[in-house]
Symmetry: C2
Subunit: 248 residues, 2 copies
């Protein structure tokens, strides 16, 4: 069933917000009489909705009875992500939200290219929160991940460690493959945490700091991946490893 | 060990191409005396290289004896990807190259937004090949994936089916989770194929066409993922499922 976000969701007849209407009626091609599930990301409620009328990007709908929203991330996955240049964090927040991350902590490392402190840091965090909310809406997820930061590398690792039982620092020079340990951790339903360095790489000291915080240095294979590819790949792996066990 | 591409690689003293030099000496911060592995993507040979001198983006190196290049994709993974709008195919080609896809077949479906035929299609294929070569270089992979297309959906499925033993059509309305079957297929080292629809979705008839070609409709979970996220997630899963088995 298609899911779409509607703020201040309430039963009865109403007009859809134009962006939601565009997505449902233009992109997904729903027609009069079609049904979808609307959810309110703030209130965490949802309802069955029927499309009564469509005209351009305007649609009128009937919202049924509210019930608690059900589609949320299955289990904790915390992401420590080193501040990278350009819009890489944007892309990672979007991917990680779709792929079920429950918390993203943005960190500063010695090779992070971007400097962001004070007001500029707060502005960035706001931006990433909006991106996470939008991505959650688009993928039908009721619980966008918490976005925190911008913390120092050590503080970020510590915060992530407090709510995880199995932790890895994905590092291009690590020799241990992540596969066997990750498969074990998912099998025992451990809350997971991953730390990913910036594109300039982590320093040996930062990798050591991660190891001390319980993040085992691990490799995703012999190719050197961009940091944003690492994020999607590792979360995709978690999704597939959990798939069929958690839902069956 | 860091890997970098050098065309027409030969033993002896030479200047690095400026883009390679920039990547190694500026981004990765190699210094005089540091070593890396250079590979020639065309000739599939590689060599140990020592940096003799660095000045701005110019670097002089000594290339050691040539040997066959070793870092290639581990096993066949074919991707049928429906033509999507904007630069989504670019992103998928880049991600899929880093994550070990061996063949990418771009297909047309009835909801593909972009129309590309004749010269325009050939231009696009050329562009995607260049992106795959560049992504392979950057991730240290000696064998960029083959890029083919633009084929009809049925022809693309057929081409992919000929060289795979386990096949899925990732579809947001599928009820079967992909996890258990994919884990089994990787465990028996089956050549894999995945088909992914455009962002407007596959029609019921196209899903049925895929099923007939042996692509089981499967879901990556309850969130509706963007098509480019699906690609990275599923290949990341394959990488992790193979990790530790294939390399140990």
């Amino acid at each position: 069933m298609i899911r779409a976000p509607i703020a201040a969701l309430a039963p009865g007849v109403r007009a859809l917000p134009s962006d939601v209407s565009h997505h449902l009626c233009r992109v997904l091609r729903l027609r009069i009489g079609d049904r979808f599930v609307a959810f309110d990301p703030e209130a965490r409620v949802e309802a069955d909705v029927t499309i009564d009328d469509v005209s351009g990007d305007a649609a009128r709908v009937t919202v049924g009875a509210l019930r608690p929203a059900r589609v949320v991330a299955e289990a904790p996955v915390v992401f420590v992500y080193a501040l990278a240049k350009g819009d890489k964090v944007d892309a990672v927040v979007r991917d990680a939200t779709e792929l079920g991350a429950t918390r993203i902590i943005v960190a500063r490392t010695s090779r992070s290219v971007v400097k962001a402190e004070g007001d500029r840091a707060a502005g960035k965090i706001d931006r990433w929160r909006r991106i996470a909310e939008q991505a959650a809406r688009q993928c039908g997820r009721a619980d966008p991940p918490a976005i925190e930061g911008i913390l120092g590398w050590g503080a970020a690792l510590e915060a992530a460690a407090r709510e995880s039982d199995a932790r890895w620092c994905l590092w291009e020079s690590a020799t241990a493959p992540i596969g066997p340990a990750l498969r074990d951790a998912v099998a025992r339903a451990a809350p997971l945490a991953f730390a990913i360095g910036p594109e300039g790489g982590l320093t040996q000291a930062e990798v050591e700091e991660a190891r001390v915080a319980g993040f085992a240095p691990a490799s995703l294979g012999r190719f050197v991946l961009r940091t944003e590819t690492v994020a999607a790949a590792i979360l995709g792996a978690v999704l597939v490893l959990r798939s069929g066990d958690a839902t069956s």
